[in-house]
């Protein structure tokens, strides 16, 4: 009973956390990238975001939700009880693969390349142009995955 309550609260926190992360990615997809594309200092501004975003508040929510997902995925398999467990496993997988996995495999290497580039050089500008399309594409993917994870966790709660 205590364990049920605990997992219930963890699922609620995971629903809120993945929703927050979905919104963080969403605004880059629908406003920030296009806004930075329009200004001469856009590349420097994005470099600054990539440096500042590595802070305890953002990483705490981003990684913390992933840890919760891992715990919830394992518990859902060990205490399989459809349909709640299926929603729980779906939400956890969507977040771990579609949000965390996509970020690590696609967005982070592009972030590192951008931060290392010189905005004044032609090579740097080339990296920025590629970044604007490729990074943004994978950002759409992780926005949708995080939002779908949040929806799955809400479905698991009700």
């Amino acid at each position: 009973m205590i364990l049920d309550k605990l997992f219930f609260v963890l699922t609620l926190v995971a629903a809120l956390g993945s929703g927050l992360i979905a919104g963080a990615f969403f605004i880059f997809s629908v406003a920030v990238m296009r806004a930075l594309e329009r200004v001469p200092g856009g590349m420097v501004a994005m470099q600054s975001i990539n440096i500042v975003i590595l802070n305890p508040m953002f990483l705490g929510v981003f990684m913390g939700t992933a840890v919760l997902c891992l715990v919830l995925a394992i518990s859902s398999v060990m205490r399989w009880q459809p349909p709640g467990s299926a929603w729980l496993l779906a939400g956890a997988s969507l977040y771990l693969i579609g949000s965390m996995g996509v970020t690590m495999i696609f967005n982070v290497p592009m972030n590192n390349a951008l931060v290392a580039a010189d905005p004044a050089s032609a090579a740097g500008q080339e990296i920025w142009r590629t970044y604007l399309t490729s990074w943004t594409f994978w950002n759409h993917v992780r926005t949708i995955a995080s939002l779908a994870a949040s929806a799955s966790f809400i479905a698991a709660l009700i």
Binding site: L12, I27, V30, G41, S48, I53
Partner: protein, 171 residues
């Protein structure tokens, strides 16, 4: 299920949408504003001005205002089915979003946005407005972030309690 289908779907959408909007404000509070503050003032101002212009688009406003409309409808529904479980959570979520997210944005953030969008980033007057923006806009951004997140949690509570006649959680 006691909660009717339409109210259920709208509450689900409101829970997701207010969570999404909370995340938008969250990333300004924990990264974007600091990132722009570190830049030379004229560049930081130009980047924020560009966001203020571009964010007024159908996708962002569709979600932000659309969830406001859903909240308005749900607030009326919650009063109409007040004796049903979950109605207080439903009304709480609606009020948190309508007042704490849309209301705060309109009363505090939008006027500051308009003022910043009008300045010359290279001028000293512009930089004074930027310094003011960095503190005051960010405070109200924290407020609307917390209100939107609390709204999302309230909608989830309304969904959890809403389909139980005794108001008890299923597990």
């Amino acid at each position: 299920m006691l909660i009717d289908k339409a109210t259920f779907v709208l509450t689900f959408v409101a829970a997701l949408g207010s969570g999404l909007i909370a995340g938008v404000f969250f990333i300004f509070s924990v990264a974007i504003i600091w990132a722009f503050e570190r830049l030379p003032a004229s560049e930081g101002i130009a980047a924020m001005q560009s966001i203020i212009i571009v964010i007024v688009n159908p996708i962002f406003l569709g979600v932000f205002i659309g969830i406001g409309v859903v909240c308005f409808v749900l607030a009326i529904r919650s009063l109409g089915r007040w004796e049903q479980p979950g109605s207080a959570w439903l009304l709480a979520g609606c009020l948190l979003y309508l007042i704490g997210s849309i209301g705060v944005t309109m009363v505090f953030n939008v006027p500051m946005n308009l003022r910043l969008a009008a300045v010359d980033p290279a001028s000293s007057a512009g930089q004074e407005i930027w310094a003011h923006f960095l503190t005051n806009w960010t405070v109200w951004n924290h407020v609307r972030m917390i209100a939107s997140l609390a709204a999302s949690a309230s909608f989830m509570a309304a969904l959890i309690y809403g389909d139980r006649s005794d108001g008890a959680v299923r597990r």
